[in-house]
Amino acid sequence: MLNNLIIFVLAAFLGAEVLSKVPQTLHTPLMSGANAISGITIVGALVAAGMTTGPWSTWIGFAALVVATINVVGGFLVTDRMLKMFGQKTASSASAGAPPTNGTPE
């Protein structure tokens, strides 16, 4: 218990340190990406759904697994979709101020 508490406090400091340097431009992807990471409860859901000690725990675990998977899979994919758009810009601006191309892909 004490160990867990120590880990909790240290992780909080680390998180504040790493995340406060994220630029405003990336705040939306940060939020959706961080949210996908909070889907780590999927691990707990897997354990819960994988036990067959009782029908209740199995079905509650199953429900937890489904919603956690939606959160994880959807969260990472949508974050990637957003970041891909930012990435394209790097590629085009890297080509030394080439005139912006007309018409948007996609």
Partner: protein, 475 residues
């Protein structure tokens, strides 16, 4: 041995999460950062699947497939303008998952072959249920307010505060009962189960009641606070299961949400308490009000005149707001900027931290339209430049450019940092009406000498300006 391998795998995934978030510090590395974080999740899932004694494989695979399909579907189809709504939904699912995991853990004890339930377990399970469920229902209400199936105006009724208070007391009692019966559990299971169900029900209602009195435009703060909660719920679940990966990653998410929440409150010069107590603002002001107050004059302009102004400017600054998102005008804005830049005119974008419905919302929309992020300037960087700007075009923004925040001490938004577009030689405001912004505060900028109003839908107006610029090139 087996548990050591699992723990090491969890450590690895926590490290991958940290590296992933670290790479979010620059748009160049962010995409690989996200990939690293998802790799971390894969490591954690695979380790759990292969090394725990998992008995019901069909159920596991079924759950993963079902959730995965829904997730892919949602992520693929969402419009970039609807991103805040989607994040709210995912966030709610995260909270629900944490609460359900705790519920499942509890019912495992009832099954009878697990022992060692104690007060600490009871406290963490209760916390996880409480935070997770509040996050779930609160996020759903936030989604409703953002996507419009619940009105954006603050909802209140007599006794709302009393009811909220009673529910808090009820949740507290249920929490207390869970802790009090911890030692007797699972031999005496009934009171614990009932209290857990009661706590879940109270938390479900609490989430709703806490969010409905908050106005639609404050939803970004709510979503990011709830995001922080869903992280804390995951961390609480980590305490329940004694799982380091859950604690570390849940805490990281909690920190991310908290940082964004504080940043946004600062950007509005309001305290978190002021936002959460709700009642601020009167919705989106879609009253279509065109009445000019006495003694004031409005200079109206046309897309063609705006095009002329822009064409003869050396430097144009575009300040987008929520109106741009609603009208989906980002592609037209980029087209206009491209045409101006082709004429050698410098174009920059001024992004206020709370423009839109989510932190960084404008950046995502403009990125979708292929605008280079290097042209997007934050408040502190663009304000000194506005006095040397020939033309500022305000697209669907209002409160974030309202000079009352700087000058009128009696104004509710006084002290909020704003984009000083009024320092530019001319300002063109594209807006559908003279209605005040979300804060309900009238905007003196509408009547300023150097302001011209272009009453129109943002998409239509910007498209017409771009066309007019094109015609001038051809003429």
């Amino acid at each position: 041995m087996k548990t050591a391998i699992i723990d090491l795998a969890y450590l690895l995934s926590a490290v991958l999460f940290i590296f992933g978030l670290k790479r979010m510090q620059s748009p160049v590395t962010a995409r690989t950062g996200n990939a690293l974080a998802s790799l971390g999740m894969l490591v954690a899932v695979v380790a759990t699947l292969f090394l725990q004694e998992i008995l019901s494989w069909p159920m596991i695979l079924g759950g993963l497939a079902l959730g995965g399909l829904i997730g892919v579907g949602l992520a693929r189809t969402v419009e970039m303008t609807a991103m805040p709504e989607l994040v709210a939904v995912f966030n709610g699912f995260g909270g629900l998952a944490s609460a359900l995991v705790s519920g499942a853990e509890l019912s495992q004890y009832v099954g009878g072959d697990v022992y060692g339930f104690g007060i600490v377990t009871a406290v963490t399970i209760a916390l996880s249920i409480l935070i997770g469920t509040v996050t779930f229902s609160g996020s759903l209400v936030a989604n409703g307010k953002l996507s419009g199936w619940i009105t954006g105006t603050p909802i209140s009724f007599p006794g709302l505060r009393v009811l909220t208070g009673l529910l808090l007391v009820g949740a507290g009692v249920a929490f207390g009962v869970m802790v009090a019966y911890a030692e007797a559990f699972p031999t005496l299971a009934r009171p614990m189960i009932l209290a857990a169900l009661g706590l879940g029900a109270a938390a479900l209602l609490l989430g709703v009641l806490l969010v409905i009195p908050i106005g639609g435009a404050d939803m970004p703060v709510v979503v990011s606070l709830l995001n922080s909660y869903s992280g804390l719920a995951a961390a609480a679940a980590g305490f329940v299961l004694d799982n380091t990966a859950l604690i570390v990653s849940g805490t990281l998410v909690g920190a991310a949400g908290m940082i964004l929440t504080v940043l946004m409150c600062d950007a509005m010069n309001r305290s978190l308490a002021n936002v959460m107590l709700g009642g601020f603002g009167g919705g989106d002001g879609a009253t279509g009000d065109l009445d000019v107050p006495e003694g004031k004059t409005v200079n109206e302009t046309s897309p063609q005149d705006t095009a002329i102004l822009a064409r003869y400017a050396d430097k144009v600054v575009i300040a987008p707001g929520y109106g741009l998102a609603v009208a989906q005008a980002q592609h037209e804005v980029r087209e206009l900027a491209d045409r101006l830049e082709a004429q050698g005119i410098e174009v920059k974008y001024a992004i206020h931290p709370v423009a839109g419905r989510m932190p960084g919302h404008m950046n995502v929309l403009l990125a979708e339209a292929d605008v280079s992020y290097e042209k997007l300037y934050e408040l502190e960087d663009i304000n000194p430049e506005l006095s040397t700007t020939d033309l500022a075009i305000v697209v669907g923004a209002n409160d974030v450019v309202n000079p009352a925040a700087r000058e009128d001490e009696g104004s509710p938004i006084y002290g909020m940092p704003i984009l000083n577009v009024d320092a530019a030689d001319s300002v063109v405001m594209i807006k559908r009406s003279l209605s005040p912004g979300y804060s309900g505060v009238p905007n003196e900028l509408f009547y300023a000498n150097n302001t011209k109003m272009l009453f129109s839908d943002a998409k239509e107006a910007v498209g017409q300006i771009a066309d007019a610029v094109k015609e001038m090139e051809e003429a």
